[in-house]
Symmetry: D2
Subunit: 141 residues, 4 copies
């Protein structure tokens, strides 16, 4: 498989064929082997704390999981390979604001059977809102 | 504060005043001190894997976080107390199906400064889809 | 492989052939498919907080990892199968005392490629000191 | 409290007054506000996998917890402040060798009530063996 094709197909699948990503309004800003940067535009319905107007922690966990999964999938060398999420830990570091969230996800271990990814969520030009660490199993062909 | 009042107010806030919970369609089925059971009705837009029609792992993380937060909030004895999520781990155990998800969350540590909650996600009459463990900080009055 | 043989061999390996388990003084009290109960006798050198005489959090993490690994290994059906720890989360619930620690570990997912184990640490007749959740990869033959 | 005094006292406590650290042979190589680097010299009794001569995963978890706790304690501004471990996640990335282990721990959140620390374990000049993320509660004076 030609690498650019793989990434182009993945980007299209992530943005247009996964219903939940459409609900999030997820945009893939950057995608290369082992790394992705995505954007989730702020929407009122993503608010959890309606007094302080903060993003719900649950939607932050969704974004972390999504970014982690996208980065993990760049590890495949054929669309017959299967990637499943094993687990994720998310740490909430600083209160979010009613602004777009960016997430960067990077593979930190690209093994024969296990892939691990670190994710950070942030608002542009400000500090990190949350960090996540995800484990995936992969069935190589 | 009279206990039934506290729980009634919390239930109403969770279901009607948190925008993200409305997006989820979250219903509080049971709420008592230290425990909650919630229901998230299946919707097409919650799908991640559109071939196998599975719920997106991210939405499962959202549900776990929501259920954990609701159980944690039953620990407060005044609405001036403040509860913040510190971190969460979610373990994906079995593939989900295009059916409603139930989540039960139970406080396993109710400390002066830290609350911990265990959550399980499942379809009715079938095995567990995911387990989560959450840590919260609480500022008691 | 006859089951009783497998468990007898595992018990002997855990107790006598793993140098770190000897340092811990680890005793396997119960071992069956999917479950183990172990005992770590209290020793002065396991203390972290020398004022309150509490077990070091690090040694508790060691015990959790050991118990989790033993339970996971009961899942193999041949000694050619390979089990590796992927990750572990440990939650410290209540202060420990200068007394023996028991750990019970139970498989909560016994998959083709992934095993998950829940562990609890406690002093006899008292509340839980710590909980852990571990993920393992397994290469089946 | 004068900063250098605080760090000097902490270093001495970690190395000479915590029994478990003596068992580990823990040496504090670097200690400054928000960061520590420690060394655990290899010993035969730290081996888990006696065929491949790898450090036991449990001792790695001990080291991660120890390094994390030392970094967290640099955050205190008085010895009356109390720091407790809430939880830790450890990810095993690459097989260890029968050589000394270094651990670097860095505070990633230094809050009023919560401290978070990232830890990495490695052999000199080689890749990372394990990563950990720890949460602590702190009672400020």
């Amino acid at each position: 498989m030609i690498l650019d094709d793989k990434l182009a197909v993945l980007k299209q699948v992530f943005e247009t064929q996964m219903p939940f990503n459409k609900l999030l309004g997820l945009k893939v800003i950057e995608l290369k082997d082992g790394f992705t940067k995505i954007l989730i535009p702020f929407k009122e319905e993503f608010i959890g704390d309606f007094i302080q107007k903060r993003w719900h922690g649950g939607i932050q966990a969704s974004i972390a999981d999504s970014a982690g999964g996208i980065a993990a999938l760049t590890s495949i060398s054929s669309f017959e390979e299967k990637v499943n999420t094993i687990d994720m830990r998310i740490d909430y570091l600083h209160g979010s604001e009613p602004k777009d969230i960016y997430a960067e996800a990077e593979i930190i271990k690209d093994g024969k059977r296990i892939i691990k990814v670190d994710v950070k969520l942030y608002h542009e030009k400000t500090k990190i809102i949350a960090l996540a660490r995800c484990a995936f199993s992969v069935l190589r062909k």
